[in-house]
Each structure stands twice: as structure tokens, then as C-alpha cells.
Symmetry: C2
Subunit: 190 residues, 2 copies
DNA sequence: TTCCTGATTGACCAGTTAATCAATCACTGA
DNA sequence: TCAGTGATTGATTAACTGGTCAATCAGGAA
């Protein structure tokens, strides 16, 4: 891995950690750079400005999630199993942990003033939605859209609740909660 | 209404608007005060510091919501009707609008570093939960807790999605979505 | 009128921060 | 060996912000 790629990754991870620890986007480039063990000037050298560093951090988090989803789907067979895999992947420790979710929450705030941030979150939501619909349709027909809307919304809501109170929820209980909701939705239309 | 009460309210509303417009807690006291038509020194005179102004703004938003819930419940008769009233109140225009939700999202961020902010949001979540359980129990028995968890999570998730894309959702469609989820949950246990 | 109290502000300060830049440093290919 | 290139930084700056404070203003009571 070239030095540039390594430094960029170190800075991006440091940014996520700093946002998570501070619980805010109001972190200084100096703090991020110090956490990564370099000077703030290097961060500007690689990313140009603070916002582009943040956007790279967002892409990183969403990429980790996308990888988790792909991995989980690869071993699932059948529509029902794929739906369960999708939900399970959403609450994997690599995503569903303090720092990642604290950062994720702040990215929603970033999206209020950055179109690129908005676009990235929008892509994430659309992909989750279309993944859900793809496997719901054979099971629930025309209800698939609405059910996907509800399951997707519930997942995001649980992320939010975890952000407020990390002790009150863990990956397994969250997964179980959403799986139950899924079962009830499917039951209701069959 | 005394001058003090009026000024405090004007400043609190200005703070919510400024947070909403800016899409961030990173707003200056001067901007807030200017929006309220007074000097920044007056904001410090009444609230002491910036954080206490923010906390007052949070209490204001949550109070508006609580009032909406009380009003809606007053005209509801029977458990099912009360549940529908509760859900309906969550998507009333006074809450479910751009500025209120943008501010509400930022309050979740504030809660990451302020225990008092965390406590306020916690109270809101508990109250919604216990309201839901109260009327779910007669209909669903021991399933009431889990169902309330899911309905509450879904409501928060829809708030979040509205924060990202206000055009993609309105109060009526959100209400309908949650009501359907409620029906399906109740169906599944009866 | 005179006094008092709370409302209100302009001016000010001390501290912070994003961004810049000239200057080194480390390494590589010729 | 040496020129060239990207990595890296310390120092600096211009702008901004939370918070303070002395001073003024307005209105009511005595």
C-alpha cells in the first residue's frame, strides 16, 4: 500500500474516531491529525479542506457497511434467508458500534448542508430499500414497497436509539427486533 | 406576558430556526440574537451561556410535541383509537416540519456531549414507549413491550428520513405507514 | 422630582481554528 | 552523485466567537 493511500486511510479513521469521541462534527483538523500521528498540514495536503476529509470518512463508513452486506448476502440462500442476512448485516459489530454510529449520526447533520453528503446517505437508503424489495416481492407481492419502507425506517430508528443509549441495545436484540417485525409483516399479507 | 418571558421565547424560537436553517448546532449566539431582533449580550443575560439556550430550545420542541399528544389523546376513545391518536400526533405539522426536525436531529447530536440533553430525549422516548404500552397491553398482552419498541423505533426512523429528504415524505403518508405497521403487529398476535 | 431596578447594548477581549506557505526531509531514477 | 519529486511540518495569519462589562435607557414607586 502506497504511503499516500495509507496516510489517507489513517486520517479518515482518525476523523471517524475523533467525531465519535467528541460526538460532534465540531472537531479540529489538528486533533484529527494528531490522532493520526501527523501534522494538520498533511491533512490539508491530502484532502484539500475539512469538508472533503469528512466526506471521505462518510464514504469509508458506508463502504464498510456495503462490504458487510455483500459478505452476508453471499452465504444466504432463498428470499427469506437473504432478508434475514440483510437485516443481520445492518447490526454487525463493525457498523453497530459506538464510534461508527456516533459518526453516522453526525453525517446526517453534515447532509443538511452538504449536497454530496446528502447524496451518499441517499444512495445508502436506496440500496437498502431496493435490496429489501428485491426479496420481499416474491413473498409479499405489491406490499413489498411499503414493507421495505417500514423495515428500513425501523433499522434507522434503532441506529438512532443506539446513538442515544448504547447500553440499552445490542446487535443481537436489534436484529431480533427487526426480524420479528419482518415476520409479522409477512404474516399479515399471507 | 412579561418582557422576560417574551424575550426568552423569542430567543428560543430564533435558536430553533437558526439551527434549522443552518442545519447545525454550529450557529453563533450573535446570529440567533440578530434573528430575534436583540443583541447577543441579551441572550447571555437571560440564558447564561450557549448550552443553556440550546437546552431551553430542546425543552420547547419537546413541550410542543407533548402538548400535541395530550390534545390528540383527549378526543380518542378506546385503546385502538388512542394508539392511532398517539401516532397521528407524532406527525402533526407543528412537529413534523423542516425546522423542528432539523433542530430535533441536532439535539440528538447535542445529547452526545450533554447529559441534560440526553436526559430530555430519554424522557421523550420513555413517555412515547409507556403511552404505547399502556394501550397495547389490553390488545396484545405480553407482546406489548416488543411492539412498542418497534413502533417507537419506526417513528424515530421516519423522522430521520424526513430530515434527509423532506420532499419524500409527508405527515399523512408517514402516519399511514406507521398505522399499517401497527395493524400488522396486532394482527400477528391475535 | 428622585431613586431604583431590570432591560439592553456597543465595545471589547482572550482564545480558537481553517487554511497557507516556505522550508526541510526522504527517496528514487538517471 | 545529483537533480527531481512527493511527503511532511512549524510557523503564521486572518477571521471568527463565546463571554464580559461598563454604561445607558425606560418605567414604576415613593
Amino acid at each position: 500500500m502506497s504511503i499516500e493511500v495509507r496516510r489517507r486511510k489513517e486520517l479518515v479513521i482518525a476523523a471517524i474516531e475523533e467525531i465519535g469521541v467528541q460526538g460532534s462534527l465540531d472537531v479540529t483538523v489538528s486533533k484529527i491529525a494528531k490522532r493520526a500521528g501527523v501534522s494538520s498540514a498533511l491533512a490539508f495536503h491530502y484532502f484539500g479542506d475539512k469538508d472533503r476529509l469528512f466526506l471521505s470518512a462518510m464514504r469509508f463508513v458506508l463502504t464498510v457497511y456495503a462490504t458487510e452486506v455483500r459478505k452476508s448476502l453471499a452465504t444466504a440462500d432463498g428470499h427469506h434467508a437473504r432478508l434475514r442476512a440483510l437485516i443481520h448485516a445492518s447490526f454487525t459489530p463493525s457498523n453497530f458500534c459506538n464510534t461508527a454510529i456516533a459518526a453516522w449520526l453526525n453525517f446526517y447533520v453534515l447532509a443538511q448542508r452538504s449536497d454530496e453528503a446528502k447524496r451518499l446517505l441517499w444512495v445508502y437508503q436506496r440500496r437498502l430499500h431496493s435490496n429489501l424489495v428485491h426479496d420481499l416481492k416474491p413473498l409479499t407481492g405489491t406490499n413489498a414497497q411499503a414493507i421495505a419502507e417500514r423495515i428500513g425506517g425501523l433499522i434507522d430508528g434503532l441506529y438512532l436509539r443506539f446513538a442515544l443509549n448504547p447500553a440499552g441495545l445490542n446487535g443481537e436484540s436489534a436484529t431480533a427486533l427487526v426480524l420479528d417485525a419482518l415476520d409479522h409483516e409477512i404474516e399479515a399479507v399471507t
